[in-house]
């Protein structure tokens, strides 16, 4: 395995995440897209740390990012749950009271 292959996978994952965030209207799906982007960065960190650098920095960062992503998902789902309880949907477009 070479570094290039990891980078291609990470870049592909990043683009998938970007596409998901841009096109999906469901808040939970957008959250999934964000998770893809974070994990693409994680793959980069681990690959670079393994192939290029002598210290473990990258791997440790990846662990931090996994924890952060979990915390972020917890908060996001709590917000979406309240939104669902109030409006009965988590479509991004239905939340349109704030304008101007």
């Amino acid at each position: 395995m070479t570094l290039d292959k990891f980078l291609v996978v990470a870049a592909a994952l990043f683009c998938c995440g970007l596409y998901t965030v841009m096109t999906r209207r469901n808040a939970v799906a957008v959250l999934m897209g964000v998770e893809l982007i974070l994990n693409a960065a994680n793959i980069n960190f681990v690959a670079f740390s393994h192939f290029l650098s002598r210290v473990m920095g990258g791997q440790i960062f990846a662990v931090f990012v996994i924890v952060l992503a979990a915390a972020e998902a917890a908060v996001a789902l709590a917000i979406f749950l309240r939104l669902f309880a109030t409006t009965g949907t988590v479509e991004v477009d239905t939340a349109d009271q704030l304008k101007g």
């Binding site: 965030v21 897209g33 964000v34 982007i37 952060l68 972020e72 917000i79 309240r82 939104l83």
Partner: protein
């Protein structure tokens, strides 16, 4: 593979360097514990406890002093600039918590988690302001953002609060993704995430000519632009600011912005000089767009919160003018302006919090008609803060803008400075609109009586007003402190 050694001395030094952060986090944990033990009517003690904790953190930061202390093998540093931003952020948190004494009673945020979230978010800001490693900056950014997402949606039954929280979360998390991917690419090119090390490597053309590195720094800039709400990454700002409980809006404008600019300043001042010709063009365009779009959108607003949200976008643009100028003069101007902006922003929100009776439609500009003569103190204070935001002497806002645009002229960005001054002239219109309405519009029948402020609330307002006036009349010592802080970073 070298083993990572950490002896006790280094650990103690590291903990010593993050003393203010530890005090703030400790207070947050204490507040959560006390929340379980206190009866319902004693909840206001939680607010007092938080205020005391932040005050203790300010003292501990002063005790550490402006000397450079590195902790955790250079992941975090307490230097002059760290101290300046630590004090700014903690002062903003202190004023916010003092205002919370009244606000929580009226709006039902008298809860342990409300104060704990404010404190935890503050700790994240401190880490972000003192981080010298891109990873510390990222962790600080997330530690500050996640509690803020919760705070924006704290009014769980109010649709606009939830909507603001959702929009802020989706765009905030998206921008964090960009930020992190940017760091990963920079790590790929440089082999390190330490900001000073990257800065010293920047002299090497192989690094700054590397497309991977440039892509990384571009993505990082996008992440920052989202957080400090630069046009065209500002779409979330008005919605999140309008939806959030007003106290949280005030805190976001003052403290979050300060923390994000602290980290951005560290990155820009240290690493950009080598790639300045390319980067200053980008910053120039961002600053011009942000000022213009922010100010012209604010002209159309009828809701005070939304107007101040657009005004905060415009102010991010002014601060970016100082960043574009760069160097000691630009850095000094940015530091001073961030400090001043925290006071005038908190003060303005504090007064409108008292006048508006309800969230949502209570913040309409028409509600402020006739307030000026009937409640002279409130009218006078709001006028003072708005005049300062507009940048009219003898207030601190004028001195701040003078130094920002002065730094731009000295670095040869005359066009940008002219644009900034023209924008300030436009902004006078929408800042004086509420003032005109307060003093010249006839008061309607059944004019709402502003809420009687608690003593801590009044003190916070008076302190902000005093700071705005004092920094406007005698800015020398604060400017000198700011200059020394920037020099300590560049040495």
């Amino acid at each position: 593979m070298t083993p990572i050694a950490m002896d006790t001395g280094a650990l103690v030094r590291g903990l010593y360097c993050i003393l203010p952060e530890m005090v703030v986090i400790g207070t947050a944990i204490l507040v959560l514990l006390a929340d379980l033990l206190l009866p319902e009517e004693g909840k206001k003690r939680l607010c007092h406890l938080s205020v005391a904790g932040v005050a203790a953190a300010i003292l501990s930061a002063l005790w550490l002093g402006p000397g450079k202390i590195e902790g955790f093998s250079g992941m975090i540093v307490h230097d002059g600039m760290g101290l300046f931003f630590t004090l700014t952020i903690l002062a903003a948190a202190l004023l916010t918590l003092m205002m919370a004494t009244g606000y929580s009673e009226w709006e039902g945020t008298q809860k342990g988690e409300f104060y704990a979230l404010i404190l935890l978010s503050t700790s994240g800001m401190l880490f972000m302001a003192e981080g010298t490693d891109l990873m510390t900056v990222f962790l600080g950014l997330e530690t500050l953002s996640i509690p803020i997402y919760c705070l924006v949606g704290f009014h769980r039954g109010r649709m606009r609060s939830l909507e603001g929280a959702m929009k802020y979360f989706l765009l905030g998390a998206f921008s964090s993704g960009f930020f992190l991917y940017g760091i990963a690419l920079m790590y790929a090119a440089a082999g390190t995430t330490r900001i000073p090390v990257i800065a010293s490597m920047m002299r090497d053309a192989r690094l700054y000519g590397n497309p991977v590195f440039l892509a990384g720094i571009g993505l990082l800039l996008v992440g920052f632009a989202f957080k400090v709400s630069l046009v065209p990454f500002h779409m979330w700002t008005p919605d999140a600011y309008e939806g959030a409980p007003t106290l949280v809006t005030a805190f976001m404008g003052a403290a979050v912005k300060a923390a994000a600019f602290a980290a951005l300043l560290r990155v820009v001042l240290l690493t950009f000089p080598a790639i300045l010709p390319a980067m200053s063009g980008v910053l120039w365009v961002l600053a011009a767009l942000t000022m213009t779009v922010g100010n012209f959108s604010a002209l159309l607003q009828n809701n005070m919160k939304r107007m101040l949200a657009y005004s905060s976008i415009a102010h991010a643009g002014y601060i970016l003018v100082g960043l574009t100028a760069g160097g000691v003069a630009g850095g000094q101007a940015v530091l001073f302006y961030v400090l001043v902006y925290a006071f005038m922003n908190l003060g303005a929100f504090g007064v409108i919090m008292l006048v508006a009776q309800r969230e949502d439609d209570g913040y309409d500009i028409d509600n402020f008609a006739g307030i000026g003569f009937r409640y002279p103190v409130l009218g006078g204070l709001l006028s003072l803060f708005l005049v300062s935001l507009a940048g009219i002497p003898p207030t601190a806002g004028f001195v701040g803008k003078f130094y920002l645009f002065g730094a731009a002229v000295r670095s040869g960005y005359v066009g940008l400075a002219v644009l900034g001054v023209l924008n300030s002239a436009v902004s006078v219109y929408y800042y004086l609109r509420p003032v005109v309405s307060m003093y010249m519009a006839p008061a309607p029948e059944g004019i709402p009586v502003p809420r009687p402020p608690r003593s801590a609330f009044s003190f916070a307002l008076c302190a902000s007003a005093a700071a705005v006036l004092l920094l406007g009349v005698m800015p020398a010592s604060a400017l000198e402190f700011a200059e020394r802080s920037v020099l300590s970073l560049l040495m």
